[in-house]
Symmetry: C2
Subunit: 117 residues, 2 copies
DNA sequence: GCCACATATCCAGTTTTATAGAATTAATTG
DNA sequence: CAATTAATTCTATAAAACTGGATATGTGGC
């Protein structure tokens, strides 16, 4: 149905912005962590729960988690002693949108943007 | 309409695979290059044309282009003396699909996968 | 075969990541 | 305030990425 899939909105995203987010996801440990949170959905997971599942050193997890939260792809909410982590789905959608933005702008393409130059 | 957008197929993608592709896109220079090719669509662009637009050293472009082609995100076709580069849209779709795969598997979600565990 | 063109590889140097043990901060409970 | 739990920061080290100048390779024309 969609060749260039363009069904999401690109909101306030530029190249450097998007690159830093993709870089955050471009590490096996961080991607595993992110996907763990994607699966967990709105409920999220505590840092400790993530550590148990990923089986990596605490400091290593903290290092990668920091990268994901700083990029905005993961949000955190304190619940007394534990920190709940959640995937930021809106940002993911914006990122995906950016990747396919202006897809085939110089060509005919089934899924052209209405506002493409 | 879709909260977790899941309209593409995840084909032969695993975490390490996806991470290496995301890493390839997670650099401003490479992301600019990739988006240049996305805009160019099926017609693609020669390496020289990319260099003119990006204004970086030849060796630097070659370095980044190699990363993109090795990851499979960009394909190349020789036309006599020039190399035409094209974005691999199918792989991009697979990558996006992987990112949102099993989205909210542990939660109710509008766009659940039919085969999710 | 030689020359011009298009692109890749080699080779530094510099900067950035990734890892994890040890120490530290922060929040809760008694 | 001492003890406990949860998570981060400090520190060091090894590995990898990024850059661009110089050089090499492949391609086509004369």
């Amino acid at each position: 149905m969609t060749t260039c899939l363009r069904s999401v909105i690109v909101a306030g995203m530029d190249t450097n912005n998007a690159a830093s987010k993709l870089e955050a996801l471009g590490n096996p440990t961080r991607l595993s962590l992110y996907r763990l949170l994607v699966k967990a959905g709105h409920a999220g997971l505590s840092v400790g729960a993530c550590q148990q599942r990923l089986e990596i050193a605490q400091s290593t997890l903290s290092f990668h988690l920091k990268a994901l939260t700083q990029s905005g792809l993961v949000t955190q909410e304190r619940q007394s002693r534990t920190l709940i982590c959640r995937a930021n789905f809106d940002l993911m959608n914006a990122l995906v949108g950016f990747l396919v933005d202006e897809c085939c702008a110089d060509e005919r393409c089934q899924a052209q943007t209405p506002d493409a130059a």
